[in-house]
Amino acid sequence: MKQLVIILSLIVTFMFTSVTAQAQRSYQFTGQPLTLKSSGTHLTITGYELLKSPQPAYDSADTNELEQYLIIHATVSLTSSIDGGHDISTDEYELFSGPNSEDILSKSDHIGKLLKADHHLLTMDSNNVNVKNGHSRKVDLGFTVYPDNVYILDADIGYSGHDKYVQLNQIKSSNGVTAE
């Protein structure tokens, strides 16, 4: 009977571990720097801004021309004991603006030139930025978004497959439909 109990509890343990292995991590950005850690690569989100200008070029879906640039300021640092560096890739980041997925800005958006010099914009189809072990690097992640949406950054640092979700803002609303 004792063996029966042991085997049954093993089976139950197996079931629960395989079930909870799928859990994802969600965070809320409160204005304080928020650090996400993934196998020695740390992403620290220090802030974000919704740019009043420049504004994105007209897009056929955006008839009212409401779209704006969202820039997330972050620092990537590497504390791995493994030699070599980490290539910060644009594919590691994606933004959800409400129910819509947005890719990181590409070079052709020409926003880099319009921004101030202290920005370190990471754009698609540009060369990946490398961080050496023990060092850190400032990066800016740019996206095109509608205002009045909830923005959630989906970061899969180092393609670990364990996505981390950071909700950047909160919207005041009495009914879940209109923003105050």
Partner: protein, 385 residues
């Protein structure tokens, strides 16, 4: 003299049946838990593999129990036998592997204690399958009286006591045990096995079926489900699950009457997508109006619209746009309620369409989603506050 101690067949049988029932229950409950936990997983293979592994493990357990029972029965339920020279006992252990242990009387100590009898020994010789002896240090077993015939157990203990003390004096008197009824047992077992099989089949079928709504075979009219739009209701197309939280009547800042649907969406496969292009309003939907693209309005035209709420114009938040999302971009971490805004006719009722596939009088392809026609009664819609 009582030289052997046998289990009561009836006790063993009922214990066996009890254990099997427990395992049947665990199989069904485990299946439900796995299926529920994996309900939101995109891959349909993963829960199947998990259920498979789980069933395999429980089947091994069942087989081990059946094997122990079989070897116990082939030994005629015998647990202990006094050896021929009357110097000790042979104890047979029926676990996953049958093992015999020899305990000389000198090393044996018997303690009676309420419903239990403890047999303890300082040392014993354990014989493995190849009959090689191993010296076993201090150990013992506990016999629960429930498992034995009371008369037989007493007789056996008296015999052991007599032999332990060097067989001095007259042989003890043995009480006569009653013969158990045999026929009832077999019938009971057969009945129980039959019921177990039935419960296992039906239970697992229900557990598997209820939590795993397979995409139905779509033919003809099934490609368009016709439902009434209601608050707090879940609707399923082949690829998506829509949970409508609220549906509102409203007016834009430009005076257009609109329908606003506040909902959340759950993909049922990884290979899905959603955008504002999929939502349209028809005065009255029919397959012909859809095939002719004779819609009243499209949700894609109302992105970034402001809505009048109590005389104030307010922007609509989290509105689905024409890019939306595709495939595994969308996941649990970003799943939140969102809004769709679309112009409505001023009539008492109209139809709101989720277009799962491009309709030209044909059925959706294997990978296409199916469509849902939501019938909307204007008076049932809420007013934004």
């Amino acid at each position: 003299m009582q030289n052997t101690l046998k289990f009561r067949a009836q006790s063993i049988l009922s214990a066996l049946i009890r254990a099997c029932w427990v395992i049947v229950g665990i199989m069904i409950i485990g299946t439900v838990i796995i299926k529920l936990a994996a309900k939101h997983s995109y891959s349909s293979a993963q829960p199947l593999i998990m259920v498979g592994v789980f069933w395999f493990a429980t089947c091994i357990l069942l087989a081990a129990i059946a094997f122990s029972y079989h070897s116990l029965r082939s030994q005629d339920y015998q647990l202990i036998e006094i050896n021929q020279n009357q110097t000790g006992i042979w104890l047979t252990r029926y676990y996953f592997r049958t093992e015999q242990v020899y305990v000389p009387f000198d090393w044996l100590k018997i303690v009676k204690n309420g419903s239990n009898v403890h047999l303890d020994w300082q040392r014993a010789l354990r014989f493995d399958r190849k009959k090689r002896p191993h010296l076993q240090s201090r150990s013992g077993i506990t016999l629960n009286r429930e498992w034995f015939d009371a008369t037989q157990l007493n007789n056996f203990l008296v015999t052991v006591d007599y032999l332990k003390n060097g067989a001095v004096g007259a042989q003890p008197q043995m009480a006569i045990a009653k013969q158990p009824r045999k026929k009832v047992r077999k019938q009971q077992l057969r009945m129980q096995l039959f019921m177990m099989g039935a419960v296992l089949l039906v239970g697992n079928a229900v557990a598997f079926g209820s939590t795993n709504v397979k995409p139905r075979h779509i033919s003809g009219n099934d490609s368009h489900q016709k439902v009434t739009l209601k608050n707090n209701t879940t609707y399923r197309s082949r690829n998506l699950e829509f949970k409508v939280h609220h549906a509102y009547v409203a007016e834009t800042d430009e005076g257009d009457p609109v329908l606003i649907v506040n909902l959340s969406v759950q993909p049922r496969h990884s290979d899905t997508s959603l955008s504002a292009d999929a939502f349209e309003v028809y005065r009255k939907w029919s397959d012909k109006t859809e095939a002719d693209s004779d819609d009243y309005s499209e949700a894609r035209d109302f992105i970034g619209t402001k809505i009048k709420v109590g005389g104030v114009n307010k922007p609509v938040m989290n509105i689905l746009d024409t890019n939306g999302w595709y495939g595994d971009e969308y996941s649990e971490g970003v799943r939140k309620p969102f809004n769709i805004v679309v112009k409505r006719p001023k009539s008492a009722s109209f139809d709101f369409l989720y277009q799962g596939f491009y309709y030209q009088y044909n059925v959706p392809a294997k990978d296409d989603d199916t469509s849902i026609v939501f019938h909307v009664k204007t008076k049932d819609l809420e007013v934004l506050k």
